[in-house]
Symmetry: C2
Subunit: 351 residues, 2 copies
């Protein structure tokens, strides 16, 4: 097995590209794919300040590393989710990378700063954990980017992620989601009321859409970046993973199928689902509580805090998804003013 570039011994074979690479040329391949994604989709302009959403997994650390290698001014932001050992290890990996590269890593701890965590939120809302987790991360990263004056938020979504989300969206024909599933979401300017004329959402970009998760993992290994290998224990058995498995079966028989699926969608279909040009931004107003843009009076994040903040922590083990039983008994909220008994609850709510 020889490197397609230098004919030296190859360390990885990429079936969908019908090519093998040595370590150096594989790392170059990864950087080139990111450069191409950034260029083709106008993700980041030279000199812009980038906030990388860092989980501590292979994708976000590879992304941060590549952006730094490419010379971007990229700082990190991580959210401590309170998912037991998994979250602790994730934060450790993110902190270690930031220290090694001498870069700033912003940190929010859901329990310390907002008096909840993801297992407790899942138990109280009786919804899949990924629901409150995604909502929390989006809200807090967007807010941090706006407050910190960053031009753009970069997330580590890779080709496998995007293809699986796309598969889920076409399985249900969520036409609104399909119309927005692009590797770049433009920033949005408030149209009226509080926030009018100012940025209410930062631009958000996915520079890893041309790399799959095997490739980002190999990138980290070759770059000696320690990342959390385990999947989130709360995501086990979720739909997104099932969609990945279904697509993996197709990809195994037809290498390149996922790439054709995702980029074919961008080339020939996404525009057909675009919302009307009448500007849905007009419906956005400032959240009465936190000022974030929302279509209602109070944003979804503040409503989540109202519902789940101040509950005693529920251990991960009690919330793990069990097939066939989606409903669980919700924990009771402790009376206002009473101290939390859970060890992870070290501070009051920030809201």
């Amino acid at each position: 097995m020889k490197c397609a570039v230098c004919r030296g011994p190859a360390v990885i074979d990429l079936r969908r590209h019908n090519a093998n690479f040595c370590a150096d040329h594989f790392l170059k391949f990864c950087r080139d794919q990111v450069v191409r994604a950034i260029d083709e989709h106008d993700m980041i302009e030279p000199g812009e300040r980038v906030l990388v959403a860092v989980s501590g997994g292979k994708d976000s650390l590879a992304l941060w590393d590549i952006l730094l290698e490419l010379g971007y001014d990229a700082e990190g932001m991580t959210i401590e989710l309170g998912i037991g050992d998994y979250s602790a290890a994730s934060t450790d990996a993110a902190v270690a990378f930031a220290e090694r590269r001498g870069r700033t890593l912003g940190r929010i701890d859901l329990r310390r700063d907002y008096d909840y965590d993801i297992p407790t939120a899942a138990a109280v809302t009786r919804r899949v954990p990924c629901s409150s987790c995604g909502l929390s991360k989006r809200h807090l990263i967007d807010r941090a980017a706006l407050d910190g004056g960053y031009d753009v938020v970069a997330t580590g979504h890779n080709l496998d992620d995007e293809a699986a989300v796309l598969f889920g969206n076409v399985l249900h024909w969520h036409t609104d989601y399909l119309g927005r599933q692009r590797p770049v979401l433009a920033e949005r300017i408030g149209a009226r009321g509080a926030g009018a004329g100012t940025r209410v959402f930062p631009r958000k970009v996915k520079p890893l859409v041309r790399l799959n998760e095997r490739e980002t993992a190999a990138y980290c290994v070759l770059r000696r970046i320690d990342y959390v290998v385990e999947e989130c224990p709360m995501a086990e058995g979720n739909r997104h993973l099932r969609y990945k498995e279904a697509l993996n079966a197709v990809e195994a028989a037809s290498p390149g199928a996922k790439q054709a699926f995702y980029f074919g969608f961008l080339a020939r279909a996404v525009d057909r689902f675009a919302p009307g040009a009448d500007g849905a931004d007009d419906d956005l107003r400032a959240c009465a509580r936190c000022g974030s843009p929302t279509t209602g009076d109070v944003c979804a994040f503040c409503r989540l805090i109202d519902q789940v903040g101040g509950h005693d922590p529920v251990p991960v083990e009690l919330v793990r998804p069990r097939r066939g039983s989606r409903r669980r008994r919700a924990p009771t909220k402790r009376p206002s003013g009473q101290a939390a008994t859970g060890a992870r609850n070290s501070a009051g709510s920030a809201t």
Copy 2:
């Protein structure tokens, strides 16, 4: 397990409908689903003459049986494909059903009537067998319907088929196929040249789109209809079956996923892929050879006959798909006028 209708002992559970049925109410359920499909999509008007494309498998025989039970004037048409024992058994099943119901079954034998068969066509064209098979069946059934004065052609495509085709079409974003993937294809009237003002394509309908293949099989078993159980030996390992497997994995975890996928597409997406209203029919002209509508000078069927007619038959066993080897050596054509040596070649070409 009790019947959802009469509370008698149930013989089948339908997870996606969250219901069990006894034999009588399951048969009624199947008929009701066909009635609903016909009504919702304006497939067949009372009194119209229907030509059912009959393979001898569970779907086409269930379809023919249900249409007869519902009082439609439905006759059958079968194409003998020359796929060894499989084709022989298929024809036997179709003939037996027609005799039992005292109905007309038209028969075309590719080798007898056109001097080729599907294994030979696959070997000569070096393409997957399903390619020449689908082309041949579509052409000959359409032609038979027009020549026989039938109002509509009914095919046995079920929900699993349509969902798998849809999955393949979105995986590749074949936007033209997506725009035409409906349970009814309207008849088309020639716009100019030979055939102008007359029907050049019959209306084609898929009344089984609300039933899956487990249901059509159960229908046949309960109605004591003998059908060919084996899958076509030449389809083994083809993409369509892989797409079915991938969707089956999703369906197993989320009963109803396929139905939501297919009917969600019809409700919210297919119109977005519709061809412009400028009428692609204008591009259709009569095939210089057979008079069938085509966008070129000679239709795809006549070109297939030119290429594959008159070759010595290639046994199925030599053409079976082998993973990883798509190319095979094409057999040589016998000189014009020389008799075929193959046992199945009992007549000269019809074209």
